[in-house]
Amino acid sequence: MTPTVVISDRRLEREAAKRRRARRGQAIAATSTVLVIGGLVALVLTSPGWPTVRETFFSWSVFKDAFPEVAEGFWLDVKLFVIVEAAVLVVGLAIALLRTSRSPAFFPLRLLATVFVDLFRGIPTILLVYLIGFGVPALMLSGMPTDPVVLGGIALGLSYSAYVAEVYRAGIRSVHRGQRDAALAVGLTEGQALRHVILPQAVRRIAAPLLNDFVALQKDVALVSILGPLEAFRFAQIIQGATFNFTPLIAAALLYLAVTVPLARVVDRMGGPEGSVR
């Protein structure tokens, strides 16, 4: 298949030099990593308070005892995250479509969508969880959910839908005007142009920022704990209160990291080669 090419000495020389440069770069990276990380570890381990900290934050026996319960609580976090995220993707898209639509018939809805975004993006998520978690049951309306997990999920959903709507909207607006023109020119309706031409391109562009919001939501699920449900953070706090040891919180943190770090690597991948840690 490939034609035989005579490789000149000059070229061989260049390639050898390139390899030498690469090896040198790797050596420098390795040395500096060992120095920096080793230095930080040494700093922590030699600090005067380290023996106490090791006992109260990194106690293996407490960790072993607490982990099953914290992990059980974390399962609730995961379920809540998945459900809220799915809802956020749909609601966020709907809001973004309303905000970008030009039809006069949608004017009132467009107005509502704008208010929605301003409101729920403007209120701190923790406040929203409080307001909805304690406010909605206080209304004592029949048919309203009272389960704190559901209410907390709704609060998170509202907050993140507002963010995600803006991400979608930015994506839609980033698609060149000529794409809409071309879609209309081949005879598509405005709706078809959106569905087959604009949205597929918009979603591709916003995949990385969307995933970024996923990671944030995945952590913020812990906010639901203030309403009382026994999720990971709550379990960890209870055990910590009983044992005066903070290790359960470390267990919870590790569980969160187990999900957010892989997600973050996916985000890096989508952001192109510069963003990734190899």
């Binding site: 023109d181 071309a182 209309l184 005879g187 391109q201 591709r204």
Partner: protein, 258 residues
């Protein structure tokens, strides 16, 4: 080749532009355009950048709303606000200067999208036809390539196939070679020539005078939003009557594009 078809040949004009004006804010781009295109006729629109060629084509395809006047397609006033623009666009084919292919779709999907979604063709039917068209424009084997994997000339030929797929009544070509490297111009012009040979009615905005001479039956010279001269291609390009046309052509000649 010139004036092969008399204007107003049997059946009357396919496309008629009457007293069309269009302004963007304060800027009047079209100041009363009158033009009629007969069946199988190709008219080249020439004129400096900003003379209104692109705007006229976009107005005909209802991508821009005209301020005054009318555009008629097969006798129907398509610029009547009561006429749904989608149905009109399905009878016209527009090719853009910058190709405007859908970057997330393959060449074949680009060609097929309109037929499938706008004209309700079945997938198999549309794809078979799409492959045929791509092959016709020299793109056999490129069906599954995305636009960013194609040269400018290939992209523009896909765009021509896309606009042609639904057999439009009139094709509107908006400076289809202006964004191309010089060595790629020929292949795109060959595709347009091919359409002309099969009798497609066309309105072609172009900067390629030799091409206008070869393919167009008539040439319209646009100057500041008006048609300053309209006549048989050979006459307008070789013996322009309007001094403005003469000046325009002389300038092109100086720039080595005549």
């Amino acid at each position: 080749m010139s004036a092969a078809v008399e204007p107003g040949a049997p059946g009357g004009p396919v496309l008629e532009v009457r007293e069309v004006t269009k302004a963007f804010g304060e800027r009047e781009v079209l100041r009363g355009i009158d033009l009629s295109v007969a069946e199988h006729e190709a008219i080249a629109l020439i004129g400096a950048s900003g003379s209104g060629k692109s705007t006229l084509l976009r107005c005909i395809d209802l991508l821009e709303e005209i301020d005054d006047g009318d555009v008629l397609l097969d006798g129907e006033t398509i610029t009547d606000p009561a006429v749904p623009p989608v149905a009109v666009r399905r009878r016209l084919g527009l090719v853009f200067q910058a190709y405007n292919l859908f970057p997330h779709l393959t060449a074949l999907q680009n060609v097929v999208l309109g037929e499938r979604r706008a004209h309700g063709a079945s997938r198999a039917e549309a794809e078979a036809h799409g492959r045929e068209l791509l092959a016709r424009f020299g793109l056999a084997g490129r069906e599954n390539d995305r636009p960013d994997g194609l040269s400018g000339g290939q992209q523009q030929r896909v765009a021509i196939a896309r606009a042609f797929a639904a057999r439009p009544r009139v094709m509107l070509l908006d400076e289809v070679t202006s964004a191309l490297d010089p060595e790629l111009v020929g292949e795109v012009l060959a595709a347009v020539r091919d359409l002309k040979e099969e009798g497609m009615t066309m309105l072609i905005a172009t900067h390629e005078m030799s091409f206008a001479r070869e393919v167009a039956d008539r040439v319209a010279f646009l100057d500041e939003g008006r048609i300053a001269e309209l006549g048989a291609a050979e006459q307008v390009l070789s013996e322009p009557r309007n001094p403005a046309t003469h000046r325009f052509l002389a300038r092109l000649l100086q720039a080595g594009r005549g």
